[in-house]
């Protein structure tokens, strides 16, 4: 039984302009076929999302919510925290063909599990890496992860997909030319070592993604990509026999935006520069391999990168972060698919509307609507036949556990006399959606259930967003897609960071603020509720909400 096979098919969308089709938006499908008795395949249509985990778990979601959130298909697991104990627990799970699925209880028929050394969104300064090790972080401090150890960890844990170790400098920028060169050399060398020896049968080779190195230096990025496709000679060629070049062992490419943004902090045109850097890396590389991107900041970022670089899979950490900070996403693409219903997101001074609701805000205290105005809840869609709510968007609904809670199919029975056990043959019953007022209450009382509901909701909205992106590309082609991207940009508040937007938020805001104005406001409110605990806290809350009301009255 060999490792599962990850394949990708991509086709450029029909376009009237033949220009730069290498970077055009594209439709594709990632397929993981399990080489075991089950022969299961897991498919992800692209453009699509991947979910990031924290210590192996999707933040805030219990196991049943992970399983009921269809948006979760690809899970990235950073290895570094497992270096807290020796040997790392993940490496000693015996007698299992899929130790990671078994350990974290991901479902092999639903979830692709991808192992990487570090959390790609962690942009904090790190000590420098060495010739044969990468500095990684765990709760007990910084550890050296040696290349040989990493290779033994990845081979003993059988992840579906591995992201090759690469040397990304996280020492404070700027990085010297010498350092950049070293980064290329090491990343190439580490990749080489992880491949060697190459199993003769291609079916036995792991699914390997490689992070495209070179930092913010375009010629370095180009050099790295070229090194992947260069025909190897001499001892290097011997090491990876029978492969002609490194790229032959690579299933796809990844980009981590966090270190790039960190290095581009002074660049007023950082978003444009990023596009250029990604294109530079992809230019020498084959079209048909998947492009996977970490640390995207929101829908505007995603649309821009699909438009200009043809990225296939985006991480959704931003949506989970927004759930942590109390934002319920409520946006749709294309804009024309989303009539303004009751209780829309806020319109800002620039005329644009928010991509979500800051549920901390006092306006939601008595708002008994479901989280999303743009999508029906399950009960309105399936249980109330006369619902006139958005008759023209009858097919659109949010299947998350907050908008469409369903009565449990099974209930535990604790004694023979218990009477409450449901009849499994009864049809699925949708309960009323959880309301904004309830989640507002949970946020202000510091109840974790709020974040569970918001996380499953936000991931579902993002999943829908990607489905709609694919729909437009499929039906209407690239030109129409680009038009819709422009309309979306004009309609929704941008998540671009203008200057240092962490100002006034306190010191320990290491996570980048996402979600535009609403994200910043939510993070501020989250911070004050999260920190203002203890005696007298309620009085302080009251004072603040009074002040906020005044502020708004003045604006009005």
């Amino acid at each position: 039984m060999g490792p599962p096979r990850l394949t990708f098919s991509a086709s450029p969308s029909p376009s009237s302009s033949p220009l730069s089709s290498h970077f055009n938006p594209r439709l594709g499908c990632l397929t993981l076929r399990r080489n075991d008795v089950t022969g299961t395949t897991v498919k992800i249509d692209t453009p699509g999302l991947l979910t990031t985990s924290s210590r192996g778990l999707i933040p805030h979601l219990s196991r049943d919510h992970v399983n009921s959130t269809a948006a979760i298909r690809w899970v990235n697991i950073p290895f570094e925290t497992f270096l807290e104990r020796t040997p790392p627990i993940l490496t000693i799970i015996n007698n299992s063909p899929r130790p990671l699925h078994d350990f974290f209880k991901y479902d092999a028929s639903k979830h692709i599990v991808c192992l990487q050394a570090r959390d790609p969104s962690d942009g904090r300064d790190m000590p420098s890496n060495g010739k044969d090790y990468c500095s990684v972080r765990c709760i007990r401090g910084v550890r050296k992860l040696h290349v040989s150890d990493w290779n033994s960890y990845t081979s003993s844990t059988y992840p579906d997909v591995i992201i090759a170790l690469s040397d990304v400098p996280l020492t404070p920028p700027p990085h010297s030319q010498k350092r950049v060169n070293k980064s290329l050399e090491r990343s190439t060398q580490w990749l080489l070592e992880s491949l060697s020896p190459v199993p003769p049968d291609p079916e036995d080779r792991p699914n390997l993604l490689v992070h495209l190195a070179g930092g913010i230096n375009p010629s370095a990025r180009q050099a790295f990509s070229q090194a992947l496709t260069e025909t190897l000679i001499g001892p290097e060629a011997d090491k990876v026999k029978p492969l002609k070049n490194l790229d032959a062992a690579v299933t796809g490419y990844t980009f981590d935006l966090t270190p790039l943004r960190k290095a581009l902090k002074q660049d007023a045109e950082a978003d444009k520069t990023l596009v250029h850097l990604i294109q530079t890396s992809l230019q020498p590389l084959p079209f048909e391999k998947p492009r996977i991107l970490n640390s995207v900041r929101g829908p505007q970022d995603i649309l821009r990168l699909i438009s200009t670089t043809g990225v296939d899979l985006f991480d959704s950490r931003w949506a989970v972060d927004l759930a942590t900070f109390g934002v319920a996403l409520d946006f749709a693409f294309p804009v024309s698919s989303s009539p303004i219903g009751p209780s829309p997101t806020r319109t800002r001074e620039n005329g644009k509307i928010d991509i979500g609701h800051n549920i901390y805000d006092g306006r939601y205290a008595t708002d008994f609507n479901r989280l999303s105005r743009l999508f029906l809840d399950g009960r309105s869609k399936f249980s109330i036949p006369t619902s006139t709510d958005f008759a023209d968007t009858a097919q659109r609904w949010c299947p998350c556990a907050a908008c469409s809670p369903v009565s449990p199919r099974t209930q535990l029975k604790h004694s023979q006399a218990d009477e409450h056990v449901p009849d499994p043959s009864t049809p699925l019953e949708y309960h009323p959606a959880y309301t904004r007022a309830y989640i507002h209450h949970l946020l202000h009382t510091h109840e974790m259930s709020a974040h569970a509901l918001l996380t499953t909701h936000n991931l579902s909205v993002v999943d829908r967003f990607f489905a709609d992106i694919r729909g437009v590309l499929e039906r209407d082609g690239v030109d129409k897609f680009r038009e819709e991207v422009q309309t979306f940009r004009n309609r929704y508040d941008d998540d671009e960071i203008v200057g240092d937007n962490t100002q006034g938020l306190g010191e320990d805001f290491e996570v980048e603020v996402v979600g535009g104005i609403v994200g910043r406001e939510a993070k501020r409110d989250w911070g004050s509720v999260d920190k203002a605990r203890g005696k007298g806290r309620l009085a302080r809350d009251k004072e603040k909400s009074g002040a906020a009301v005044l502020e708004e009255a003045e604006v009005a």
Partner: protein, 415 residues
Amino acid sequence: MQFEVLATCHTTRARVSRMKLAHGVTLLPTFMPVATQAAIKGLTAQQMESLGVTLILNNTYHLNLRPGIKILDEAGGAHKFQGWNRNLLTDSGGFQLVSLNKFTTITEEGALFQDPFTGEPTMLTPEESMSIQHSIGGDIMMQLDDVVASLTTGPRVGEAMQRSVRWLDRCIEFHQKSGRDKFQNLFAIVQGGLDPELRNQCLEQMIRRKDKVAGFAIGGLSGGEAKDTFWRIIKQCAEGLPTDRPRYAMGIGFAEDLLICVALGIDMADCVFPTRTARFGVALTFAGPLNLKLRKHSHDLKPIEEGCPCPTCSSGTSRALLHHTVTIETAAAHAVSMHNLVFQARLMGGARDAILAGTFPGYLKNFFADYYGGTGYPKWCCDALKSVGVDLLEGLDDPKVVKGDGARWEYAIDP
């Protein structure tokens, strides 16, 4: 409320009953998880239902502050607000007034406290407590009682008991006039501190009002009193209370306490313990609590408890994964909370089955042997059960008996 005793233990005072309320049937004895702020920590109403829980508790004091009565009224009550379709019990708010507010003063009119929002003096009267609980809409509501700390002695205890009786009358009157007594059920709370004589007086007064209340609670315990006193008061009250009303021991949640209470005739109990301890990384098992933070669990691929039907154990989630994530990831708190709530439910469900089957004394012996066999039986447990005809040590060779409260902790010392 329909209340029917289905079976009684032939030896102890334990019994199984069926309590039918506006939101369904709850089998007693049962443990009630606490959703202080209208949510069981980290979980949803649907998840709670899937765990086989049919009765939870909301705290009146907290819900009155936030979201407040106006919002609860607009939402159509706490059931709708939190999406919970099963039974709900609310306390009176009196306990938190005393435990959370330093400046509360009790007058005959009611409890005068500082509003934590505005700092203004605010009065919680028995009528006001009823009115708030009507807005919440719990299936069971508690009278406002005059709560004193469990360890209080002197005339204040008697005064508080007497006042609790007078406040009960005011609660009954307000509740009956409101017409809400058709679907919301008022429970009286027996007070009297640790003084058996005061408890007797209170029992007598409250039983006189039996026809106007749906059940009785025993308050003023679980506040640091000696275990030997605790069980004697529970026993005295449970014996004194009528058999055709449910009996509720407030604030009880340790497994050993629960089973002792059941053996002494208690039907219901509540505590934040299982969910709170879960957040600190402690998982409850029939062999005693596990502190998942300890290094010894770091490479243990076993579930918390073999054979446990909770979502965490039945999925095979290992102690090692929980060790890696607990107290850091909220998702780990959810996993351990679900387990702990199912543990409490199994403990009580098992008691129901044993009482129905006539094997409850054996159930007690097995539980205490598994739970305490290694560390020694707490003397108070032996005494309490002996008082209702069960000798835990019967037939044991050289059993170990220990003094003290006997709470089992896996101490946070990494060997």
